[in-house]
Symmetry: C2
DNA sequence: GAACTATACGGAGACACTCTCCGTTTTGCA
DNA sequence: TGCAAAACGGAGAGTGTCTCCGTATAGTTC
């Protein structure tokens, strides 16, 4: 990639991250990002063919955060329910960090063609690690993709309804109880 | 309302119902509805100020179906889990009947200003009736709006990911176990 | 049944958005 | 320095929501 192209790409991602964080996915237009990054729409679209692939680049650092959160939760010296709930809460709060992200990422979980496919693999892997760690404390047959979708669903509702943290916690509590062995 | 206005309104709702059912909320444009109903866009927008308020009119008959489903589920001669799961399944399948409806209706649950506000009251009332009927079989502190949101979240994920019925059933099973007393 | 007024109609178009085409500019190498 | 390849960026196509306002019609009054 030519030096000017690399500079532009970096600046676009940096600017877009700030705008997406401030306004959420839906409320941001590509023209707005292009103007803020001081490039033309054509340049923006050559680097990122769709708004979602731009979003994917913006969320690049998430994968690390997910794995860190898993490590922390499963190594806690606490009962299984608390460890599980710790993870579910972290996961949900990462999904709701950017408005509009939860629904999009969760919808992409089973779609290998999505721009988010790589991230989804990370999330599924994280949930699988949680399942392995908690092992017999969970109901038999619980799968990583089920946890991903359940928490994704909760996060999407929290996001679109702009619910306070305690409402989210109550819902995640129900999910945790449903996942844990009786 | 003038007779011609009433005729147009009725025809718009009838036509829109068919189109929404066939294509889902997002994929239908207001111009498309206007053309199909053989009215101008101006006429359509005078009757329904937004696409959502048109959708609300289209979904008018849902309230009855919800109450019928509650009656059926709670009067079943079966264990609490089966009765609960019966209702959750019915509720989720009604929400996913129209593509795009689940997320929208669930997001409107706490918003009195939404075009769906009246419907949301019906849903909340239905879930409250379920709570009253199952009573001590549920964990203490379970609220109607929590059930509405949890199932709404599941329905939204099922809808956007186009999941098969068994994946939905597995998720609803987790929710049911989380709601029921241990 | 004709005149009149309030009501409703409907199309042109304003505005916003995603995304593309292509002439112009810049870069980096020979 | 010259030159191809690469990148730029703006005009605009296409699609959507929603509005304005001149025109047509319904329903009432005489």
């Amino acid at each position: 990639m030519r030096a000017d192209a690399q500079r532009n790409r970096d600046r676009i991602v940096e600017v877009a991250r700030a705008i997406f964080r401030a306004k959420g996915f839906e409320a941001v237009s590509m023209d707005e990002v292009a103007k803020a990054a001081e490039v033309g729409p054509g340049t923006l679209y050559r680097h990122f063919a769709t708004k979602e692939s731009l979003y994917d680049a913006v969320l690049e650092a998430w994968a690390d955060k997910v794995n860190t959160a898993v490590d922390r939760a499963i190594s806690l010296d606490a009962p299984a329910r608390e460890r599980l709930l710790n993870w579910l809460t972290d996961y949900a709060s990462m999904l709701t960090e950017h408005k509009g992200a939860a629904a999009r990422i969760t919808a992409a979980l089973g779609d290998p063609g999505s721009p988010f496919a790589a991230k989804c693999q990370t999330y599924l892997g994280a949930n699988q690690r949680v399942i392995n760690a908690l092992d017999s404390a969970l109901r038999p047959g619980v799968e990583a993709i089920q946890i991903s979708r359940l928490v994704g669903g909760v996060a999407a509702v929290v996001d679109t309804s702009e619910l306070p943290a305690d409402a989210a916690a109550a819902m995640l509590g129900v999910v945790a109880d449903g996942l844990l062995a009786p």
